[in-house]
């Protein structure tokens, strides 16, 4: 089981400048259209190649459209990295903060 982080907590921690990777697994078009400030786009289809090729922060929070695919990706990253990984509950659908 991977944890789910409420979007309000993600927002508060971003505003507090806390260090973690916020990984947006939506496709590039959706990300380019609007994304959470500070989120990094790693589209789902690129993840298996990217997982071993980059450094991961001690903590990673995964975000997608509605918080379902992000759970599966969080399980994957939890197993394949040393990071503490969670899924952003409800995804972008539940996000009430700013977008850029």
């Amino acid at each position: 089981m991977v944890a789910e982080t409420p979007p309000e907590e993600v927002r508060a921690r971003l505003e507090a400048g806390e260090g973690f990777d916020l990984v947006d697994i939506r496709d590039a078009d959706a990300y380019d259209e609007a994304h959470i400030p500070g989120a990094e786009n790693v589209p789902l289809d690129d993840l298996e190649d990217a997982v071993d090729d980059r450094e991961w922060a001690d903590e990673v929070i995964v975000a997608c459209y509605v918080g379902e695919s992000s759970v599966q990706v969080a399980r994957f990253l939890d197993a394949r990295t040393d990071a503490e990984v969670s899924s952003m509950a409800g995804g972008y659908d539940a996000w009430r903060g700013d977008l850029e």
Partner: protein
């Protein structure tokens, strides 16, 4: 790529073999091509279709989005019996039989 793949972390329903998949595909009263589509669209479309179908009818959803093989059956819940076929090269068939 070393280590398990994303497939291994998706909680799929029971899988069927090629022969069973072919037989089930012929029984499907509705087929939805969801290749290229990502959550939540496949879930929404599956729920709508299941509402239209009669008990015993079979809905087939084709997808290349591996999370759907868990998220779609979960979205339609107890209304169906779900099984999955995987091609081995990135295509999946989700079979949803309305109870």
């Amino acid at each position: 790529m070393s280590g398990p793949s994303l497939d291994d972390f998706v909680d799929m329903p029971d899988e069927v073999d090629d022969e069973t998949a072919e037989r089930l595909a012929e029984q499907a009263v509705e087929t939805q091509d969801m290749t290229g589509e990502v959550c939540p669209y496949p879930q929404v479309e599956a729920k709508k279709a299941i509402q239209r179908l009669d008990s015993g009818d079979l809905l087939l959803q084709e997808t290349d989005h591996v999370p759907s093989t868990e998220n779609v059956p979960r979205a339609v819940g107890d209304a169906v019996d779900a099984r999955v076929w995987r091609s081995g090269d990135g295509l999946y068939r989700i079979f949803l039989r309305k109870r």
